[in-house]
């Protein structure tokens, strides 16, 4: 961590997460190391060791226990945090559902990484996508600045009484976790009032006993699940509200999604994560060449803002979805499936293509995005010979499915 100027630090994504955790005065951190997220726990350990963070650090024996401990601590009313990715996130999977169903505001950072086998430590979004239906708020970010800002926002959103759901801040492994950027940080005096401590609506308290984690038989199970699901859908409003307040106070905001040169765009690519920074550069260059292209960067994956997205996409002539995850044997990648439903429900019939790219950390270059845009151009004219699901940068005998 290097101080560039007052309130501007050189931070890696991992350091930015840890810095936000320190400023949020997290009470209980429970962690287990896994590349590329490990540096977050190391940094927090350092903060605790130096007395800069007054919190309990539970160095547990697995990610499963890390999230379990977070649930226990949050159930008492503590502000909690954990960080993981990849195999660690998958090991937690069972407990993710329980965290959201018990309505405890756990904040988790995920330095997105592929899933074994083959073992691979590099970035893709398979780990997060495996958690898609766990009823967590899922944020994806594009930059180190954004991961810091979203981490601060995350505590506020998760603890809001209208939400009371766990939240996952996804930041690409290595590309963001290990890359140093100048980050404008808030002062501790700014963070404290933005993250006020409130008495939770329910908690484990000998003076007022509750039973938490009860059995829900067929008479009650459905209501419990649907209530939590509805809370997630409704959280969009709070996410937006918090982001706007953040902008008012600190001058930065990100929105549910952000548009890049979308105003008069005829062809656009939707995607999430740091690769969309590359997409922006490709769009900028193609615009100079007179192409009416744009990019839409989705920041909030769950809840899925399908109504808003339908309005943004309805006038396009061709749509591409770039995703760093597979849904083997399925129709399309997870984000694409969400968008296809969105288009169909709104009777929007535009040609679409699903681009699978960057699995296991394979590069996604400006040139790759150029190729995606050219293919979409062919698609619009009815001249594309490629299948609907196309792989970017893949080595394969089946040439037609590769861009």
């Amino acid at each position: 961590m290097k101080v560039i100027q007052k309130n501007r630090l050189a931070l890696s994504g991992n350091e930015a997460v840890a810095y936000a955790v320190k400023q949020a005065k997290v009470d209980v951190t429970a962690v287990y190391p896994i590349t590329p997220s490990t540096a977050v726990s190391e940094k927090i350990s350092e903060y605790v060791a130096k007395g800069e963070l007054d919190g309990e650090l539970l160095l547990v024996e697995s990610e499963h226990s890390a999230l379990s401990a977070c649930i226990g601590a949050a159930a008492v009313g503590a502000r909690v945090f954990t960080v993981t990715c990849s195999q660690g996130l998958l090991l937690m999977h069972e407990i993710l559902y329980i965290a959201s169903a018990l309505r405890v505001p756990v904040v988790m950072a995920v330095a997105n990484r592929s899933i074994s086998a083959p073992l691979n430590i590099w970035c893709d979004h398979s780990d997060a996508m495996d958690q898609r239906d766990t009823n967590w708020i899922m944020i994806f970010v594009l930059s180190v600045q954004e991961v810091y800002d979203r981490m601060i926002q995350a505590f506020r959103i998760a603890e809001d009484f209208r939400v009371r759901l766990p939240i996952m801040v996804n930041y690409d492994g290595f590309t963001l976790s290990h890359t140093y950027s100048p980050v404008d940080v808030l002062s501790d005096e700014e963070v404290s009032p933005f993250l006020p401590r409130r008495e939770p609506p329910f908690k484990l308290d000998p003076k007022n006993p509750i039973t938490l984690g009860a059995v829900g038989n067929p008479d009650y199970y459905m209501e419990a699940k649907v209530q939590a699901s509805k809370a997630l859908t409704d959280s969009l409003l709070v996410i937006d509200e918090v982001d706007k307040e953040f902008e008012k106070k600190f001058g930065r905001s990100y929105g549910i999604y952000r548009k890049f040169m979308m105003e008069d765009a005829e062809i656009a690519i939707v995607g999430m994560g740091s690769a969309m920074g590359t997409a922006k550069e490709a769009v900028r260059r193609l615009r100079k060449e007179g192409k009416k292209v744009g990019a839409l960067i989705l920041n909030i994956y769950r809840p899925f803002a399908y109504e808003m997205l339908a309005k943004e996409l309805k006038d396009l002539k061709a749509l591409g979805v770039m995703e760093r995850a597979l849904s083997p044997g399925g129709v399309s990648s997870p984000l694409m499936s969400d968008l296809l439903s969105t288009l169909y429900l709104n009777s929007i019939n535009i040609p679409t293509m699903n681009f699978i790219a960057g699995l296991g950390g394979r590069d996604i270059t400006i040139d790759d995005f150029r190729k995606m845009f050219s293919e979409l151009e062919l698609l619009e004219k009815g001249k594309s010979k490629r299948p609907y699901l196309t792989y970017v940068g893949l080595r394969s005998e089946e040439r037609e499915m590769v861009l």
């Binding site: 379990s68 407990i95 509750i210 938490l212």
Partner: protein, 313 residues
């Protein structure tokens, strides 16, 4: 915590209950007894964490609950980790002046949730010396799912996954030694307890609450899974001790000692004969009974119990 008093007789327990009737546990189930004791000793200043299992499913069916004290269940393999989280939250929030209480945090979980799927989380919790009391009610099988063998099922016992037959004696290997496993972690206190020796149990539970991390291993006779008359639960708990199969032990200040010594030791058949899960041994596998007797004899030697007497006490 200064007001805490060691309890050694039932009469000293407060009237107030931490656990109410109306739960769905079987007739003759001996789980509620230890819960009532520990919640009373703690005077309600307690948080209980339970893993999935009989206790959990039978006491928390929404919209009812048998728990009069705060209780949390998260999953099957993680009760110890949840408890660590609960305890650490109380410590830090108290330190920061955000709350005043710092209650006892106690896990009450089955043998499967302790010896098998939950052993990793428990091991981590002990190693970190988290201030939690872990009580394992050991009914020696996965009872909730219908009597499947666990790592705590004893040698020779029938379960639905260790049926006997021409190629099977029942469970073919010995029970895991959880007491030693706990001690190997240098817990502050550990003890074995039995429903047949209530005052011994009360004393040990009191000590376990204040010397954490601690481990209580409770042999919990289960009429449904062990196949015996529900009226006999306490008697079977006594016989387990009197045959030397379940020595009542205590680990404190780095030393193990016997808390109830046997002056008259009964043959293991006195314990086995009431239980349907061992019936096949009497009919088909007498050599297994002999092996179990030798096992009891070895324990007797280790703990200085008397030689066998032939008649029941």
């Amino acid at each position: 915590m200064s007001k805490f008093k060691l309890i050694s007789t039932i009469k000293e327990l407060p009237i107030e209950e931490g656990f109410s009737p109306g739960h769905g546990l079987c007739a003759g189930c001996t789980i509620p007894t230890i819960i009532r004791m520990v919640t009373k000793i703690a005077k309600g200043n307690i948080i209980v964490v339970s893993p999935t299992g009989c206790l959990e499913v039978s006491t928390s069916v929404y919209p009812t609950t048998a728990w009069k004290i705060p209780w949390i269940h998260v999953a099957f393999e993680n009760a110890a980790a949840v408890a660590s989280g609960v305890k650490s939250a109380f410590s830090v929030l108290k330190r920061k002046g955000m709350i005043v209480d710092d209650p006892f945090v106690v896990v009450i979980g089955g043998d499967g949730g302790t010896a098998d799927i939950g052993i990793q989380a428990m091991s981590g919790m002990f190693e970190r010396q988290d201030k939690v009391t872990y009580i394992c009610y050991d009914n020696e099988a996965y009872m909730n799912t219908g009597i499947q063998r666990s790592g705590a099922t004893p040698y020779g016992a029938w379960t639905t996954t260790t049926p006997f037959g021409v190629k099977s004696i029942g469970k073919a290997v010995l029970k895991k030694d959880l007491f030693s496993i706990a001690i190997a972690h240098k817990v502050k206190y550990a003890a074995t307890v039995s429903i047949g020796y209530v005052n011994d149990m009360l004393k040990k539970l009191s000590k376990a609450l204040i010397n954490t991390p601690s481990f209580i291993h409770y042999l919990q006779p289960c009429p449904t899974g062990w196949r015996f008359d529900p009226a006999l639960s306490v008697k079977i708990g006594k016989l387990a001790v009197q045959t030397g199969l379940w020595p009542l032990l205590e680990y404190e200040n780095g030393k193990v000692k016997v808390t109830v010594s046997l002056t008259k030791r009964l043959p293991v058949t006195e314990y086995l004969k009431h239980q349907g899960r061992f019936k096949h041994l009497f009919k088909k596998y007498p050599q297994i009974i002999e092996e179990l007797q030798s096992h009891a004899d070895e324990l007797a030697e280790e703990y200085g119990f008397s030689p066998l007497v032939s008649t029941p006490i």
